[in-house]
Amino acid sequence: MEEKILAILEEHCEEALQYTGDNMMEDGVIDSFTVINLVSDLEDEFDIEIDAKYVVAENFKNKEAIIALVRRLVEE
């Protein structure tokens, strides 16, 4: 699962894979357009629904947070 998520992330924003900080959105690594397309691809790939309530900086602060979010939603 992790590999698939990273592949989708790479497709949308290569920089996100190298990012080591803890606020990708505020640091301008990932913008809202990228988030929207990323969410859409993750939903299709894992058959999950990522509600607007999950689209917060905390869940997109780095690649680990994105992986954790998808994992949580798949298990729900």
Binding site: D31, S32, A52, V55
Partner: protein, 525 residues
């Protein structure tokens, strides 16, 4: 009551004294009482709208919280995912029945005061014109700010990003907190609640830091913004045909700085006042004119408003059923370009609303559309843009490239500011025409420049103040807090700088007379 007034300084000092002298458990009550007093004094009337918003917000959030808890209980009884989905849908429908009337009521209230001014003569006819309707109910100060703040809180509760508050006083304080009630920043409940609940002990250093930030904000407002305002008002107030294009260009460039100095000055003052109470407000500006793109500019300018629209309008639209359906249909069409349809539509929506939030004139609507189109266009063009950059071997770190990108951003903001500073679209049109047909750059070097309210001495003074501001901005852009930077200088240098700023503020600030120092530009939004 304006932040730059003797009355406010006395009010601040009294509130500050009571805040730290009273038992710590009473601190938030003191802030709530002070906020009510500040608001009522500024309004000169009964704050009916503020109370209506506070009460409906409080009630709606509590209902949502209860409904979410009941949904969880019901979902726990379901064995499978489909069952949980069905339960969620039922409870979501119930919540919408309360949420939608709440939004309609509060946005309606905002729209009524902000846009229905034309109906006032009718209301005055009903209520009698002495005093008229507005004088009776009071024009709600900061309604654009506290309404969006309240709506954001209700959405956050609905999204389970925070729990509903059971104490009405905390909600009232959150919405009416006096440093931020009139012009923001837009606070989020999660961050403010923790600070309101904390017991705050007096700290001399913190008080000093708060006062320093307040004085710095006043410097930007009185020495820079209001001085520039004299020139800009005269140029834009003149008959367009009589002013050369270069002077309009100069006035517009100055207006860009005026708006920034005025609004960020207010935010510095508000944040400084709040800091003395040990309550930190979110940052609203991060040196926007260093931005290399319009998107970055809006991540640095009025940050909390941008974040509000992104979180509560953009994402609500994109993640809604309609947004998802459109995205699914378009995503793989037109060689992959279809994936931009929904984000671009969301961007246009956000910018349309940002425009009408700022003002009801056609200029503001066009201003919003302008930014929406630029942002959507740059989103669609991004792959080509990256390709060109790579072919031309342009490095991200190149200083020349950075300067080019900054200049490009300035030009886009410049054009947008002509639209909002002009009194009408036809004046804006005449000004754009003047840039092309009669630029006459020579008039910037002639005595004509000093015939719009600022003498050579005033212009030199303004230039000196701008240099100080630039120096501070460069220090901050390098990641240093300027107050920490100053604290590290020798005492003599430090105090010369502090006294210098205060002296400049007292001697060269624009006070009284024909220029109303009390009015901040963003207050009218």
């Amino acid at each position: 009551m304006q932040l730059i007034s003797y009355a406010f300084v006395i009010f601040w000092a009294v509130t500050f004294s009571l805040y730290y002298l009273a038992p710590a458990r009473l601190q938030r009550y003191i802030l709530a009482a002070a906020s009510l007093l500040f608001y009522t004094a500024g309004l000169r009337g009964i704050p009916v709208s503020l109370f209506l918003t506070a009460v409906t917000t409080y009630g709606c959030a509590l209902f949502l919280n209860g409904s979410l808890a009941r949904e969880k209980e019901a979902a726990a009884q379901c064995a499978d995912r489909e069952g949980r989905k069905a339960v969620k849908a039922v409870f979501q429908r119930k919540r919408r029945r309360i949420q939608i009337p709440y939004f309609v009521f509060n946005i309606g209230l905002l729209a009524f005061y902000k846009y229905a001014v034309v109906s006032l003569p009718i209301l005055d006819g009903i209520f009698g014109s002495h005093p008229g309707f507005l004088e009776r109910v009071g024009m709600p100060l900061g309604i654009s700010f506290y309404t969006l703040t309240a709506i954001g809180y209700v959405i956050d509760v609905g999204r389970e990003n925070c729990s509903a508050e059971t104490d009405f006083l905390r909600i009232f304080l959150f919405l009416a907190y006096f440093p931020s009630v009139t012009q923001g920043p837009f606070n989020r409940y999660q961050g403010m609640k923790e600070q309101f609940d904390k017991e705050h002990a007096f700290s001399y250093d913190r008080m000093l830091r708060g006062i320093q930030r307040f004085v710095w904000g006043a410097f930007k407002k009185l020495v820079i913004a209001d001085r520039i305002g004299i020139f800009v008002d005269r140029v834009y107030g003149a008959e367009p045909a009589s002013v050369p294009g270069s002077l309009f260009a100069c006035a517009t460039a100055m207006y860009m700085l005026q708006l920034y100095a005025d609004f960020s000055g207010y935010i510095d003052m508000a944040a400084g006042v709040s800091e003395t109470f040990d309550i930190m407000l979110p940052e609203n500006f991060k040196r926007p004119y260093f931005a290399r793109s319009v998107a970055e500019f809006w991540r640095r300018w009025h940050i909390t408003l941008g974040a509000w629209f992104k979180d509560y309008v953009m994402f609500s639209f994109v993640m809604s059923g309609t947004g998802r359906k459109i995205n699914k249909k378009c995503k793989n069409k037109w060689n992959g370009m279809g994936r931009h349809v929904v984000p671009a539509a969301g961007t246009m929506l956000v910018w349309f609303f940002t425009g009408i939030w700022h003002g009801r004139t056609a200029g503001y609507m066009l201003w919003g559309v302008w930014y929406g189109v630029i942002m959507s266009f740059s989103l669609i063009m991004e792959p080509w843009y990256k390709n060109w950059k790579s072919r031309l071997h342009i490095g991200e770190q190149s200083r020349l490239w950075a300067l080019f990108c900054m200049a490009r951003t300035w030009i886009i903001v410049f054009a947008a500011d002509v639209l909002i500073r002009s009194s009408s679209l036809s004046q804006a049109g005449e000004i754009f025409l003047a840039f092309v047909t009669r630029l006459n750059i020579g008039s910037l070097l002639s005595s004509e420049l000093t015939s719009y309210g600022l003498s050579k001495y005033e212009l030199a003074l303004l230039l000196a103040a701008l240099v100080i501001w630039l120096a501070v901005s460069v220090i901050e852009e390098r990641g240093q807090d300027v107050r920490d930077f100053m604290a590290g200088r020798p005492a003599a240098v430090r105090w010369v700088c502090y006294y210098g700023i205060v002296l400049l503020l007292l001697v060269t600030g624009i006070y009284g007379g024909s220029y109303d120092t009390a009015v901040f530009l963003y207050q009218s939004f």
